[in-house]
């Protein structure tokens, strides 16, 4: 099989290179003393120093982390409820609607989601006086909505693949449903819950388009600040910011792989 021995592996290696070379370049050039990408000016950490001295970036980062933490938590609760409904509540009459509404936000172009949420918030504000004005609250509501869709998809997959015999055994031994849920179901799907929360957190932290639509004056998130900087051209302190993010995500990935390997060995 020359195809799967040679052609595909070579093409796949190129693909992985395509994925990682730009990231590698970001990391390397965050330590470049020169401002120009084509000139290597020697090792330097000056862009990191500059990054941590920029009050605009620091404030935006703080705000983004707060928004991400709150909306990821809300998204986890709502997404978990949606996933349970879809996998286990066959009696639920709104199932078809819920299925569609959970899947659609994943592929909906962000400009449409952003515009439609903004117009909703303006209409609600006019009708009920809530949410008054645009700002942190509206960003949290928006991020919770698209975050819960991702959460629901992840948890749904885990619930479908879950071994139900433990739950049934506990029930046979007389445990009440809520007790079963909190002592067996939740611990069993805990890794999926963690992954889902982290994904919702990351997506919120990363969102530029939707936040731009629904944010108000004084509530610029980190991506909004980064975008306005990047639009003016390359700025090396953004490389430093990217490297820090990559470092955190890379560590997370390594821990995830290590955990999975351990779980597989135990089996």
């Amino acid at each position: 099989m020359r195809l799967s021995r040679f052609v595909f592996p070579v093409a796949a290696s190129l693909g992985f290179g395509f994925l990682y070379i730009p990231i590698l370049i970001l990391v390397v050039y965050s330590f470049n003393a020169s401002k120009l990408v084509t000139v290597w000016g020697g090792l330097s950490t000056q862009w990191y120093v500059e990054l941590f001295r920029d009050p605009q970036i620091l404030d935006a980062a703080k705000l983004s982390f707060q928004i991400a933490a709150i909306s990821a938590t809300l998204a986890l609760a709502l997404g978990l409820a949606a996933a349970i409904t879809l996998v286990r509540f066959e009696w639920f009459r709104g199932r078809t609607w819920l299925t569609g509404m959970v899947a659609a936000p994943l592929v909906m172009p962000e400009v449409i989601t952003g515009l439609s949420l903004l117009l909703l918030f303006v209409a609600l504000d006019n009708l009920f006086g809530w949410p008054s004005g645009r700002g942190v609250t509206t960003i949290i509501l928006a991020h919770t909505t698209f975050g819960m869709a991702f959460v629901a998809v992840i948890i749904q997959a885990r619930l479908r693949g879950m071994d139900r015999t433990l739950e049934e055994a506990a029930m046979d031994l007389g445990a009440r449903p809520l007790v079963v849920f909190f002592t067996i179901t939740i611990p069993t799907i805990a890794p999926a819950l963690v992954a889902a929360w982290l994904l919702a957190f990351t997506l919120s932290l990363d969102d530029l388009v939707i936040a731009s639509f629904v944010s108000g004056p004084g509530s610029s998130t980190l991506p909004m600040v980064v975008f306005s900087k990047v639009r003016l051209g390359i700025s090396p302190d953004i490389n430093a910011l990217a490297t820090l993010m990559i470092l955190i995500v890379g560590l997370g990935g390594a821990v995830g792989f290590w955990q999975m390997r351990r779980a597989m060995r135990r089996r």
Partner: protein
């Protein structure tokens, strides 16, 4: 059948089902109706910058003014039609590029033994967890005329003057393929890992060359994965804003950018809404196809 009763006996099970449903109805479905409504109103210099559709007159009379002018304006102006066409074309080309890069990767991952398979899967997903904006930004430094790619090619003597890639459609294809690659690889991987290998062995035993068995066995059997992955890339790519804004040129007309400019630069909310409604009509077909594929995959 005890397990079915597990949640049915929770008193609050109705709440569990209805809260996320009502939330999504309010914050996902109803907003589209608001967009539809605003797209039928006239723009005004006010805050919010549009006129109400329903006006209450004396004696309990209501006057409803529907303005189809926004749609007529969009259809009349070749700029808008062209940008819809361009968005579809750019999304289509980018999807093909992504498929071309993603298929071999998914194939190699699906055929790899554990634990290498998990490691490769994590490697594909990992970039998706880092900032989308920063991954697009990384390409500016590579593609610009005094960027890395040109520096390397010039030094190797492969070109004599810098290539213009940044601010062209090519940069947009690359950017979309780069950022959406995991969405393509994962469904392809799911399809390829379910592939019955005995069919390939049978084809080989009957004398088929690897290429023939790939074209006649592997590819047809993984078509659902190809379609699912392609739709997951194609649909969001149509409305993409960040990539054409950062990597595309001024003449790269994509509808997401047009909507953004109507909203933020021109502050014309009704026109922006009409642009969004037409874009929605464009993606409804692919969306329904995708959901059919997914529900079929779930049943299998």
């Amino acid at each position: 059948m005890r397990s079915k009763r597990l949640f049915q006996s929770i008193a609050g099970r109705q709440w569990v089902a209805w809260i996320p449903t009502v939330w999504l109805l309010t914050f996902f479905l109803v907003p589209f109706l608001v967009v539809l409504k605003i797209s039928l109103s006239e723009s005004a210099i006010a805050m919010p910058p549009y006129q109400p559709i329903v006006q209450w007159l004396e004696g309990g009379l209501a006057e409803i003014r529907l303005n189809f002018g926004n749609y007529l304006f969009l259809i009349d102006d070749p700029l808008y039609l062209a940008s819809y066409g361009e968005s579809v074309r750019i999304a289509l080309v980018s999807t093909l590029v992504t498929l071309f890069i993603g298929y071999p990767m998914a194939h190699v991952i699906a055929m790899a033994p554990e634990p290498r398979r998990t490691l490769l899967l994590i490697l594909v997903i990992l970039p998706f967890w880092t900032s989308f904006l920063l991954r697009v930004y990384a390409w500016i430094a590579i593609l610009k005329s005094n960027g890395l790619l040109n520096a390397v090619l010039l030094n190797l003597g492969l070109i004599s003057e810098p290539l213009v890639i940044l601010q062209t459609d090519l940069a947009v294809y690359l950017g979309i393929a780069y950022t959406y690659l995991p969405f393509m690889v994962l469904p392809l991987y799911a399809a390829l890992s379910k592939l019955d290998r005995t069919l390939l062995e049978a084809a080989e035993d009957l004398g088929a060359t690897p290429w023939v068995s790939f074209w006649t066995v592997t590819l047809p059997l993984t078509l659902p994965g190809i379609f699912a992955g392609s739709l997951l890339v194609f649909v969001p790519a149509i409305g993409e804003f960040v990539i054409p804004a950062l990597l595309g040129g001024n003449d790269t007309l994509m509808i997401g950018k047009v909507l953004w400019n109507e909203f933020f630069a021109n502050r014309d909310w009704p026109i922006a809404s009409a642009v969004a409604i037409i874009m929605l009509c464009l993606i409804v077909g692919p969306l329904m196809w995708l959901s059919r594929l997914q529900s079929r995959a779930e049943r299998a």
